[in-house]
Symmetry: C2
């Protein structure tokens, strides 16, 4: 990860910072202004209601850039899901990053709006299916996919309880659609069946 690190779309070298599993990267209400590229690891972006209900709005995986905001203030929390390394870019005063950031912002906007369809209109099986297919996509369509996040995280992302997540995964396993290799590695054995379930 030294000087031979993956090429960045951004010009200057950036300091690298490390986060342990569960540690906070930034909090809602904090001043924003920099943004982060994930060198390794995974990040959850979320919001809380005052009674503790949590909605994870996005997971970001290695290679992705996140943390830029509308009005210089963070509207969400960001935490490392596992040991994570970030390359942080702090634009110089007056520097205009619009050209680089717009495509990302549009992409994340589409992602959030597509996710809205899942959470607003699909049942628990469809939600889990959509989630697994998305993770598979983003990990290069390997048969085996890694789930760095806990069941609770998955539930809070999909608007389900941890029990429902667990039950649906068990049912898909029992039907032979999924095979688990430990808790955090899933093999999608019948991608077509999964795809059909998520219509």
């Amino acid at each position: 990860m030294g000087s031979g690190a993956p090429a960045s779309v951004f010009s200057r070298p950036h300091p690298m910072s490390f986060f342990t599993a569960g540690s906070e990267i930034y909090a809602q209400g904090e001043k924003a202004g920099s943004f982060h590229q994930i060198e390794f690891g995974a990040v959850r972006i979320y919001r809380l209601l005052c009674d503790g209900r949590r909605q994870i709005t996005a997971f970001h995986l290695a290679g992705e850039t996140f943390g830029f905001e509308a009005d210089r203030t963070h509207h969400f929390f960001a935490e490392a899901i596992m040991a994570t390394g970030l390359r942080t870019h702090c634009p110089a005063a007056g520097e205009d990053m619009s050209r680089e950031l717009l495509p990302l912002a549009l992409r994340y906007m589409v992602r959030a709006q597509e996710h809205l369809l899942v959470v607003g209109r699909q049942n628990s099986v469809e939600r889990i299916g959509a989630f697994l297919m998305d993770m598979s996509d983003r990990q290069g369509d390997l048969a085996q996919i890694e789930l760095p996040m806990s069941r609770q995280d998955i539930g809070d992302y999909l608007g389900l309880t941890i029990e429902t997540v667990s039950r649906v995964l068990s049912r898909l396993r029992d039907k032979g659609i999924l095979k688990f290799h430990g808790l955090r590695v899933v093999e999608i054995r019948k991608p077509d069946a999964l795809r059909i379930m998520c219509e």
Copy 2:
């Protein structure tokens, strides 16, 4: 609406187009490239599942700009909710609108992600409350707010059925929190009560 039309953030004059209630502005899959500023009226942005389930991801009201997309392709449908006039801007080839569009994209991204919290983690009363307060905000915090959209639209925005929307509104009316002046105009008589219900 002639030469004395409201000032636009964009430089050149644009053709104006009109849409009747229910008419399509663009469809998912169509080529994108231009974007639209609402002169008057209101617009719904939505997605469909193949069995007809619909999720409205955003309502846009007079003054707002929408329709720019990540990869030159529309990912959503846009329809006029009522008689609507749009000023359409088609950037010249090579023209870079990033500076103007990034703040909008970020704003809509935050909106979508906040809406995700509502749909993913709040109950029917909280959802309706959040919706009404949002509409009130965006109409300048008047006591009377206009709901250009149908109950079905509200349901498809909040991830509820039309019956649930209707029941919740009736309950809020019976409690004296809301007062209806016809179907499409609501007065929020106890904003505090509403705010508390939405946590």
